[in-house]
Subunit: 268 residues, 2 copies
């Protein structure tokens, strides 16, 4: 099985750019951070940048492109933001209007309309899952080969300009004796969501039915395990659906931007 685990990020991005890979990126380029993508017209960029500044747990910014540029020079040297992710989504007025493997034509179209796009790269919990596994803490959705379960909460993000909406969280069931270690390990990585927001009380954050996640897949919660909830990088997509900006490109869930920066470098 070709799992791309040992590939270098630049090589894998090149393969994706040529259309040679259409799959979720979990587990690829082991050790390197992956990121969530949000692309917006320049006129919305200030409000979104401020939204991320005010909500750093849900939206920990790794890098912001220059307006009109299609590359992340620090996290992806030589990258092409419009082609280096296997699958993109486009939202117009808060509604998803399409999935694409290449959005360079959309960047070109906006440029012809005189609109420069700004790209935001946001940290992803894949980075801390490697550390959890290393410490002997199970990560159930990896064991079960599915997507992590994600839930809309009743925790309002701090609004900024035209952006508002509630936090989305991911859930991992952790054996109760390992919960303190899981909290401590992730707290040490604030650039990839950091510490949990809730441990053991889903109803306290507005989640009434754990068995029906709003995004992703349900996983098994075993006897003696506690559901632990972390701020999730799907929050920006939830905010986009609430705030209904005219035009946004994001990655498709699970299909991330693979960076040149190692997870270990995100500890500081």
């Amino acid at each position: 099985m070709l799992d791309y685990k040992d590939w270098k990020p630049a090589d894998l991005r090149a393969l994706i750019r040529e259309g040679g890979l259409d799959a979720p990126t979990a587990g690829m380029c082991s050790g390197y951070a992956q990121g969530n993508l949000v692309v917006l017209p320049e006129a919305l960029a200030y409000d979104f940048l401020l939204f991320c500044q005010r909500n750093p747990k849900a939206c920990p910014l790794l890098e912001v492109s220059d307006a009109g540029s299609r590359t992340f020079p620090v996290f992806g040297r030589g990258s092409d933001i419009a082609r280096d992710i296997p699958r993109y989504r486009v939202y117009e007025d808060g509604v998803m209007t399409g999935e694409y493997q290449d959005v360079s034509a959309l960047f070109d179209k906006k440029e012809q309309e005189g609109i420069r796009l700004v790209s935001f790269l946001i940290g992803c919990s894949f980075s801390f899952e490697a550390d959890l596994l290393e410490a002997g803490i199970p990560v159930r959705q990896i064991e079960e080969g599915v997507n992590v379960p994600m839930y809309k909460t009743n925790i309002p993000c701090v609004p900024a300009g035209r952006f508002f909406g509630n936090m989305v969280v991911s859930m991992r069931p952790i054996p109760h004796r390992l919960v303190p270690a899981a909290a401590a390990i992730t707290a040490g990585m604030p650039r990839v969501h950091g510490a949990p927001v809730q441990i053991g009380c889903p109803e306290a954050i507005g989640i009434s039915d754990l068995t029906h996640p709003d995004f992703g897949d349900m996983v098994t919660i075993r006897e003696g395990e506690v559901p632990v909830f972390w701020p999730c990088g799907v929050t920006p997509q939830n905010v986009v659906m609430s705030s209904k900006p005219s035009f946004v490109i994001t990655h498709a869930p699970g299909h991330m931007f693979i960076t040149d920066v190692k997870n270990a470098e995100l500890r500081l």
Copy 2:
């Protein structure tokens, strides 16, 4: 001696607002974080916000006001940004043109010109100095009752839009056996500049003469002590002098905004 050490932040801000205090704020409201202030016209706010995002060690953002607002609702509930700092500086086209105890007239004047101002609150190393002292690590400029020595370096900040310039660092001489602890303690507080950028080699970052700091005062370096350099919140003022924006208000060195948030809360 009335040192305001045990005052509540809101009470001290009220005293300053009434014109009852014109002094540097070091040591006041013990345990509470103090912050650097940068106020800019809305048209410059995006570039400056992006500059802070790209240079989080020198410019760790604590809070950004809404455009046209004069308060920090999270870090200073009920605060008046234009009057709650004992002393302000105004820069026009990169040149300091005045010091003020109250800048509300300048906010009003800009508003009459149709210009909304945006205020940025940036973390300050006062927060980690309390932790160093707690751990038995000396903080020389406090012992000697002077301002911390600060130096311009040859380390370029990552530019953003019209903002560019080099990092300014603060220096504390640390006994060599305590240097690892000093690095570890400050690394755990990334919201107030975090880990040192240089330990023991001033010439490596372009500092040729330790005895003549560019800002603040020289302190004694004793036998067996190593000069340790941290990113400094004076960096934005250096960047303002390099980038020459039309209009900026900052705090005067050492005269900080006293927040309602405890240093301990800034660890996460």
